[in-house]
Symmetry: C2
Subunit: 168 residues, 2 copies
DNA sequence: CGCTCCTTTCAGAAATTTGTGAAGTTAAGG
DNA sequence: CCTTAACTTCACAAATTTCTGAAAGGAGCG
C-alpha cells in the first residue's frame, strides 16, 4: 500500500458506502438525491461539504444539489453554513441532531391523529369502525409521548458511550 | 334525517375519511393504492372487505386491488381470508396487528445497521467519519431495543383502556 | 458601482412509476 | 370433467417525477 493510498481517503470505498447507504434510505421511502447527498455528508470526515464537492462526488448538477439540500434543510437533517468571506456555502450534518430530526415525526403523527379524530366523529364513536379508529388514535397518542422519553434516554446513553461533546 | 340516512353508513362521509387519511399516508411515503385500500379497510365496520367491494368504493380495477393487497400483505398490515365455500377472498385489518407491523421496522433497521457497519470498517473506525457512523449505528441498535419495550408497554395500556379482547 | 463567483429558479427532456384492459390461472360446484 | 367465478399477471398508455442546461439572482470584493 502506497503512502498516498494510506493517507488519502479511498475515494472508491467512500463512494461504495455512499451509494449503498443511500440505496437503503431510498428503499425506506426517501427521495434519491436527498438520500445520496445525505449519505455523502455523513461519510465525509468534516461532516460538511460544499455544493461543488457534492456535485463532483455524486456526479450531479448544481441544480440537483440545490434541490436536495433544500429538502434536507427543511427536514432539519442538515444545516447550512456560510464560509466567512466567501459566497460558498457548506452543508453540514450535526451528528446527533440529524437523527433527532428523523425520530421527531411529531408533525406527521399530529396530522394522522387529526385525520383519525375526524374519522371517529364522522363515522360515529359508537360504530365498530369508529371504535377501531379510536383505538388507533390512542396508539398514536401513546407513541407521541414514548418517543420523547426514548430520546431522553438515548442522550444519557450516548454520553455514557461516547462522552459528551455537548453540541459537537 | 331519514330512516335510511340514519341507519346506513354515510357513504360519502366514509369516502371523505378514506381519501383524507390515505392522503396522509401517501405524504408519509406510502404508495397511493395501498394507502387507499388500507384506509378503506380501516373504516369498514367489519374491518374486512372483498376485492369487489374495494374496487367499487375506490373506483379502481381488480388489478389495482390485487397489487395493493399483495403489498399490504407482505408488510403484514392486512391478512387474507378465504370465505368458506367460495372463491371470494376477504382482506382484513387486525386492528392491533397492523400497527405492530408498522412499528416493527426491524428489517429496515437491520439493513441500515448492516450498511453502517460496513461503512465503519471500510472507512476506518479511527477516522472522524468512521466515528460518526459508529455513533449512528449505536443509535439504531438502541432504538431496536426500545421499540420492543415500547410495544410491550402499549399492550398493557391498551388492555387498560379498552379491555382485552386477546386476539380480536 | 460593477465584476465575478456561487446559488437558485425554471422549462423541458428523459426516465420511472402507476393503473388499466385483456389474457391467463386456479379452484368451486355441478 | 366442464363451466364459471374469482384472482393474478402482463404489456402498454398515461401521468408523474426527476434531473439537467440555461438564465436569473445576489453577495462579496475591488
Amino acid at each position: 500500500m502506497t503512502e498516498s493510498a494510506r493517507s488519502a481517503r479511498d475515494a472508491e470505498a467512500v463512494s461504495r458506502f455512499v451509494e449503498s447507504f443511500a440505496a437503503q434510505l431510498v428503499e425506506a421511502g426517501m427521495q434519491r438525491m436527498p438520500a445520496r447527498v445525505f449519505a455523502a455528508l455523513l461519510s465525509s470526515d468534516e461532516g460538511a461539504m460544499t455544493s461543488a464537492e457534492l456535485g463532483e462526488q455524486l456526479r450531479i448538477s448544481p441544480a440537483a444539489v440545490s434541490g436536495a439540500v433544500r429538502y434536507l434543510a427543511q427536514q432539519h437533517m442538515v444545516s447550512r453554513e456560510r464560509e466567512p468571506g466567501s459566497r460558498r456555502e457548506r452543508y453540514r450534518v450535526h451528528s446527533n441532531q440529524w437523527y433527532e430530526a428523523v425520530t421527531n415525526r411529531e408533525a406527521v403523527l399530529k396530522r394522522w391523529e387529526g385525520a383519525l379524530r375526524e374519522g371517529v366523529t364522522s363515522l360515529g364513536a359508537d360504530t365498530p369502525a369508529g371504535r377501531r379508529m379510536a383505538e388507533t388514535l390512542a396508539f398514536f397518542e401513546f407513541v407521541d409521548g414514548e418517543l420523547a422519553a426514548m430520546m431522553e434516554r438515548w442522550r444519557a446513553r450516548r454520553e455514557q458511550l461516547f462522552g459528551s461533546t455537548g453540541s459537537e
